[in-house]
Symmetry: C2
Subunit: 142 residues, 2 copies
């Protein structure tokens, strides 16, 4: 049974979650070559692009709670991909050389993911979906 066939297909909660899970799966698959989950990957790329970025800003970029960011950073620290320095109430996150080496591979992951979902759904359709999703999310309160 596909999503449209479900008795809940007209429910926004159901549809958005079902889609997100499917896309998550696709993304996870594509990120396996670097041994990171998509969220760890996107966080790490952000840290590489903005060395010294603070957890609070990462939370905004990734639209996740600060506590979730802390947890993601902990994992990346264990893997020696980032380091944290804390001064006062401010924490800065920096990429390690090992992380920087990984950057091209991560770009490939994103590229492959993009290629896969556009192949499945069509390039134009994919673009439209993202637009609709963003528009909807912007209207919902935080």
């Amino acid at each position: 049974m596909n999503v449209s066939g479900s008795r809940f297909s007209q429910c926004l909660y159901f549809s958005s979650n079902a889609l997100a899970r499917k896309i998550e799966k696709l993304a996870v698959e594509n990120w396996k070559p670097v041994g990171l989950s998509p969220s760890h990957g996107y966080l790490l790329m952000t840290v590489i692009d903005e060395p010294g970025i603070q957890p609070g800003l990462l939370a905004e970029h990734l639209q996740l709670q600060p506590s979730t960011i802390t947890r993601l950073i902990e994992k990346l620290e264990e893997k020696k991909l980032v380091v944290r320095t804390t001064e006062g109430k401010v924490t800065n996150v920096y990429p390690t050389p090992k992380a920087k080496e990984l950057y091209p591979k991560m770009q490939t992951c994103i590229g492959n993911f993009y290629r896969e979902h556009t192949t499945l759904m069509g390039k134009e359709e994919s673009r439209k979906i993202v637009q609709v999703l963003n528009k909807a999310a912007d209207k919902l309160v935080d």
Copy 2:
């Protein structure tokens, strides 16, 4: 910062997850009056509508893994809202009278949730979003 403002707003993984989390939040809020999470609620309503339904079918209806269904049922069993009977390899799930009493309240939760998100996003827009989400999900493999 809203979703569109994020550096990842053009990424399908990011957008679909961000939207799903926001909608989840709204749904959780609206389901609080009955003391259930949305997924428990939808599962329970399905069991009431189809008494004796098997976990495998529930998994299809809700587009969740069978193991997840087992876990959801366990919770509802603890709360004395469903009972399970197993014969051979087949399990049947039945609602308790307590669950049936809750049905109107659950309908109200769904109604309120619907009212809230259509108020925020517009009725026509909401309908369109659901349609786009389903269409996209159907194109992604399971």
